[in-house]
């Protein structure tokens, strides 16, 4: 069942059951409400928070559980660290972040108010955060109020603070705290591709595919990894030549017509390479559903490249045997390697809000960030320039090795991600124009999608 169907079904059933059951709207737990107001107004000291957290004694953390290395890190490092604060961590591994968001919204719509839900913290970003903030399902602006917020740059005048203040272009209002900073990095299998043949632009990739048909594919949108690939193509073929810049505006500011003009060449490129993608020979191009499937294709040599969010993906892949022995990262597409952060958010109806705050604060600490970097290969989400020299050295020491690229090269090719309101429209356009092979023009499709999404 796809996420979209499920949420549509949920929505319908929610309305129906709300009527049928004559749900009396709950007003929420008064003590939890009071705590929320006190904390957000700055009336509760951090000691008060810790005392309440020890009383609550528990936190339900919902996160994508598809990576053994992350699972091991959470169980072996985070659990004991929180136990020291008298908080028992209950890590709930989910297959998709959307499941946790759906659960929070379903509970909210069933009348579970402040303090009465079942989710305390979610690892998320982009669309999922956007959905929760749109539905007013977040605890509030907490990120700058926890002690370890000093590890982040919140100064709006410094462009480096952008990823702390905006998540896919959506203002975070400190309703989520950065956890990890990722970059879209492609890996190449050196067994098949030597340095001279390695593409660095989308045009190069097209030439490579002409010579080696079927040896590339990308994760299928609406998966965020697929969406990100599509976005970088849109940047590269932006007819104005200014890359990511116009894609920072919301659909309301940009307008559907302008968006259609900007993405038309990119969409045409994607349609042009489709007959040369994996499996296109035998009929329809094959787009893997998620990164595990793409990794499998890469390991088996069915594709020569593997593009996903993963600054240390090669390191982790070699460590777990999921990448081929000769895998290496490479700079692609030049200057357009999308970087973003992912975050921890606290839902409005969190049953243990104080524990969730203690948890978020711990996750933002230098120690936990360095150990996550070292043991789970997850890049840090804190800002190195805000740290003391010894702390920065600790993080540097913990960083796994890069294969085939240097940190300087990666940093030099960073591009911002796309505004969340545009992501939906671009995704819908991809589905219509590429997947369904619609004969309608890009302008028509974009106008239609923008209208449907706005509703």
């Amino acid at each position: 069942m796809t996420g979209m169907n499920k949420s549509a079904l949920l929505k319908g059933l929610m309305t129906a059951s709300a009527l049928a059951l004559m749900t009396s709207l709950a007003y929420g737990d008064d003590a939890a409400k009071q705590f929320r107001t006190d904390f957000l107004d700055g009336k509760a000291s951090w000691d008060d928070v810790k005392a309440r957290a020890a009383e609550e004694g528990k936190i339900n953390f919902y996160y994508w559980g598809g990576s053994d290395t992350i699972n091991v890190w959470v169980d072996s490092v985070v659990t004991p660290a929180l136990a020291a604060e008298d908080v028992t961590l209950n890590p709930v591994r989910i297959t998709g972040t959307k499941d946790a968001v759906d659960l929070v919204l379903a509970e909210k719509n069933a009348g579970k108010g402040v303090g009465e839900g079942s989710v305390d913290a979610i690892w998320l970003n982009g669309e999922n955060f956007y959905t929760m903030s749109q539905q007013d399902a977040l605890f509030g602006s907490f990120a700058q109020k926890v002690p370890n917020s000093s590890n982040f740059d919140w100064n709006e005048d410094d462009p480096r603070s952008l990823l702390n203040l905006r998540d896919f272009g959506v203002v975070t209002n400190s309703q989520e705290i950065p956890w990890s900073g990722q970059q879209y990095v492609c890996a190449v299998n050196r067994q098949y591709v030597d340095a001279a043949n390695t593409p660095s632009t989308f045009e190069d990739m097209k030439k490579y595919l002409e010579a080696n048909p079927g040896k590339f594919t990308y994760v299928k949108p609406p998966h965020y990894v697929g969406n990100t690939f599509v976005q970088s193509v849109m940047y590269a073929f932006n007819p104005d030549g200014n890359g990511a810049i116009p894609f920072q505006q919301s659909i309301g500011d940009l307008g559907a017509e302008e968006l259609a003009r900007l993405i038309k060449p990119g969409m045409e490129y994607l349609r042009a390479i489709e007959p040369m993608l994996l499996g296109a020979d035998g009929g329809k191009a094959r787009y893997p559903e998620d990164i595990a499937a793409l990794d499998g294709l890469f390991l088996n040599g069915e594709v020569h490249f593997d593009c996903k969010f993963g600054l240390y993906a090669v390191h982790t892949g070699l460590q777990t045997g999921t990448f081929p022995e000769q895998a290496e990262a490479f700079i692609f597409p030049k200057g357009l390697m999308i970087a973003n952060k992912n975050y921890l958010a606290i839902p409005a109806n969190s049953p243990n809000p104080a524990s969730a705050l203690v948890f978020a604060n711990y996750m933002a600490s230098v120690e936990s960030q360095a150990s996550k970097l070292e043991k789970a290969g997850m890049p840090v989400g804190i800002d190195i320039w805000k740290l003391a020299a010894d702390q920065a050295a600790m993080v540097e020491k913990a960083a796994p090795k890069h294969y085939g690229v240097t940190q300087e090269e990666l940093d030099a090719n960073v591009a911002p991600d796309t505004n969340a309101s545009l992501v939906d429209v671009i995704e819908a356009t991809w589905l219509e124009y590429i997947e369904r092979g619609s004969s309608a023009s890009i302008e028509e499709i974009v106008a239609k999608s923008a209208k449907e999404i706005a509703q």
Partner: protein, 286 residues
Amino acid sequence: MAGRKVTNTFNRLSPFQRFYLIAVAALIVGPFAPLIIQSLAFRWAWPNLLPSVWWLEQREKSPIPLAWDYVLSPYSRIYEATINTMAIGLAVTVICLAICLPAARVLARERFRGKNSFEFFLSLPLIVPEAAIGIALLMIFINLGLAGSYVGIIIAHLIPTIPYMVRMLTAVYQGLGREFEEQAMILGANRWQILRMVTLPMLMPGVVAGALFTFLVSSNIFLLTFFLGQGKIITLPTLLFSKISGGTLDASAAGITLIVSLPGIILLVISERFIKEEAFGKGFGN
């Protein structure tokens, strides 16, 4: 003895029959072979027939537990999932029996208006798609505070198991005439003695078969558990789903798959032996 009997029979088969027998066996056992190899592999890529690097070679070098080390570590949650699956299965079986025994007795022995439509009604839960039941129940259970609780999952598991159990027990009751119980009554037994010493022993094969089947069904329910457990309560099927939903089977996923198939195999072996040799072998009243 049983072994020799099988060999003798096998030799008596015609070549065609032997071929089909082996083909069927290969189809059943075959999928397990790559699974076992994968569970022991570190890196197994096309076109290698066997893994290029085995888990044991990499074991000392790796900073994280690999393959079986991961599966058998607390990180994999396999113990928690096994205990949950067993406990839920057991509770569902007991409650299901408690509901279905009296119901089957009435259905087998009594006549009442609307009995036929009632029997049809009983199988309705098997016709309605699980997803529809699951989402509707989730909404109700969230209101009742049962979502994400064992009680909620057990109630949900009763829905697809009761129809099977009722049918099975009704059939057994129908095969069991009233005369045995009447006989005991004439000989002066009271109701409790009749139930304990006559009815239950004679019902035993049906009860055991029904219980094993219920347990097996309950321990394999994915969708209802997934919806109502909300990820908080993990069972073997939900654990397996979260491991393999990517469509790729790595070593730890292969190990978990093997473990998940164990309860089913053990139960099948038990039921084969018990039902054939003990219960049906002795037959009713012989």
